[in-house]
Symmetry: C2
């Protein structure tokens, strides 16, 4: 995440991992979620926070989930089930269960299938938000597998040359294990920025950068722009652009990648694409590929180490100190936040105090 979108340490209240995990688990339980699902949901959210993925951590997601349980749009005890199945595939109806709890189960099925026949691929319809997509992809790592996760989201992104949002931010995550180096963990929206980043920009009062959004006529805004004021609820004043921003810079590629996610996570789940009238919020896709099915696992991991080291030791461009790769800053964040805790804005802390009060839970985060 860009530095400007981090809570500044000086403004932050640091919360330790263990009490954060306990509090989030307790809140999920109060929503009617089973003990094991509550702990699983807390793991998905807190893992995002520990890895520095604040957009998909507790501060940015939990209150929306609580609102969903309260309004009844989220089913705390989903009767999820496999609708169709082959040796390498399954299609699951998640019964409007929260994705952060149902999708790990789908990934376990994919991993088991990959163990049996080399690949496992599972689509999930009738689905809800799955949190940080790479959580599910990373589940493959300890099994010496490559993991993938995609999620077809409600529309907020313009097609290239379009003036009306018709695609979700539709992220793609891929995780592959290495030996000594931190694993390769890619997780990115196919829009220029994740939708959640606009919410964060609003909360932290940061400008939107050039190329992030278009105006209401669909014309990409190529200079910095102020986000809508906090609390603004009027008509949209701008729309997200696909990765690439303009046709000349390659936005048709970001647009097409968003469509890939709508095809695999949306249509192939049987739940329809993002714009599908009447579709529930989300459709998901997870897959696991057994490395052993293709080649020697140790050789794979050694070669991954070589590639990752080769990339992070690339001579840096003028004005930069070093080159990163996806998964490296997140692994460094896990170490740092394991020591210092997760930095939360005071406004998030206030919300925790309020919700713990409302739910008659002890507050012990700070």
């Amino acid at each position: 995440m860009l530095e400007q979108f981090k809570v500044k340490d000086v403004d932050a209240i640091f919360v330790q991992e263990a009490p954060l995990r306990e509090t989030v688990t307790a809140i999920f339980k109060k929503m009617g979620v089973s003990d094991s699902d509550a702990a699983l949901g807390a793991d998905v959210l807190v893992t995002a926070d520990m890895r520095g993925v604040d957009t998909h951590g507790v501060s940015n997601m939990l209150r929306g989930y609580v609102a969903g349980y309260t309004s009844g749009s989220l089913n705390p005890r989903p009767n999820w089930r496999i609708i169709r199945e082959t040796p390498a595939t399954a299609n699951i109806d998640s019964d409007t269960g929260l994705g952060i709890m149902v999708v790990p189960k789908a990934m376990e099925i994919a991993i088991e299938k990959a163990r049996n026949v080399g690949v496992g691929m599972v689509t999930i319809r009738n689905a809800r938000h799955l949190g940080m997509a790479s959580y599910h992809a990373m589940m493959a790592l300890e099994h010496d597998m490559i993991g993938t996760c995609m999620t077809s989201c409600p529309p907020s992104v313009l097609p290239t040359w379009g003036a009306e949002p018709r695609l979700g931010t539709n992220p793609i995550a891929v995780a592959a294990p290495a030996d000594q180096e931190p694993a390769f963990v890619f997780d990115a929206a196919t829009s220029t920025v994740a939708g959640n980043k606009l919410g964060l920009a609003r909360r932290l009062e940061n400008n939107l950068l050039p190329g992030w959004v278009a105006d209401v006529d669909g014309v990409p805004i190529m200079e910095e722009a102020a986000p809508p004021a906090p609390g603004y609820e009027g008509p949209a004043t701008s729309f997200l652009l696909p990765l690439g921003s303009t046709r000349e810079l390659g936005s048709h590629k970001g647009y097409g990648m968003g469509m890939i996610v709508d095809v695999l996570g949306g249509i192939l789940s049987g739940g329809g694409y993002g714009m599908n009238p009447g579709r529930p919020n989300f459709g998901h896709y997870v897959a696991a590929y057994s490395i052993e099915a293709f080649m020697d696992v140790n050789e794979f991991k050694r070669t991954m180490d070589d590639m990752l080291k080769n990339l992070r030791t690339t001579p840096p461009a003028k004005g930069h100190d070093r080159v990163l790769y996806p998964g490296l800053p997140e692994a460094e964040s896990e170490v740092e936040r394991g020591q210092k805790g997760v930095p939360f804005h005071s406004e998030v802390i206030d919300w925790f105090k309020d919700i713990c009060g409302e739910l008659s839970l002890p507050y012990d985060l700070s």
Copy 2:
């Protein structure tokens, strides 16, 4: 492809599909390729031309292939073989056979596996150029499957914040069938532009657009720049940027997607990543997913129609006439070029005349 990179019709010599196919087949045969592989190779190249993908058609690829056969870097009669196999996967050594002929065979294996267990996934090591990646992905369409193809290329692209190319242009192709609408066919480099587009720019004497390349210090060039003069063979004056161009615009996403291709097409093939010392030119990855394994095929195709129509009827942005989707302009090009022929620059026609003379083949293209 951007209009500026098309051969202008007024400068073009139009060549009909049938004689083009015959001439290309005859040239491959003269290189020592079998009759069936020669026809297959011609089909891959001419399909690219018919679909308007000039970067990967006859004009841009064939002379490189002829040079490869002549120098011995391409094996005209490869003894390709499966090294490891499971019900859903295979790993193939292509014995330095040209990818445009070996990869379709790998895709047939993937399709057969998908028919049996739901998914088929094949990696190809010791490999050479595979032409237009979407050709292989599209093979899945007539089987009511979704097809994927990726190819890990030699390094030419900078990692984000890097000053030395360490990734290939590493394209990703995905094809999914519809009912009445032209199929969804995505095929794009994970760099801002395909490497071949720089060659075309040089030949057509067009400028490089902002965000396509960085200078030798790794600093993205955000204004138009002249390409190196035709015939320039000196040290590189610029490097390709990953999709997104700058970190602020999301180049870490294009960079990460390029790495996904290096992991799946390169390392998982056992052939190593693009920068791997001593690696042959390319590593490939193809996959087929049976739609029937997940859901009803007719419902899938009807929903695809809905989505594709929904996207191409998006109200256009100011200054544009209509919204496209990946596969739509290519399908329109097939119709148009089926009538008018493929437009070639006179310099390409001269090459055909020369090579037909050298190989004692009749020249009958124009």
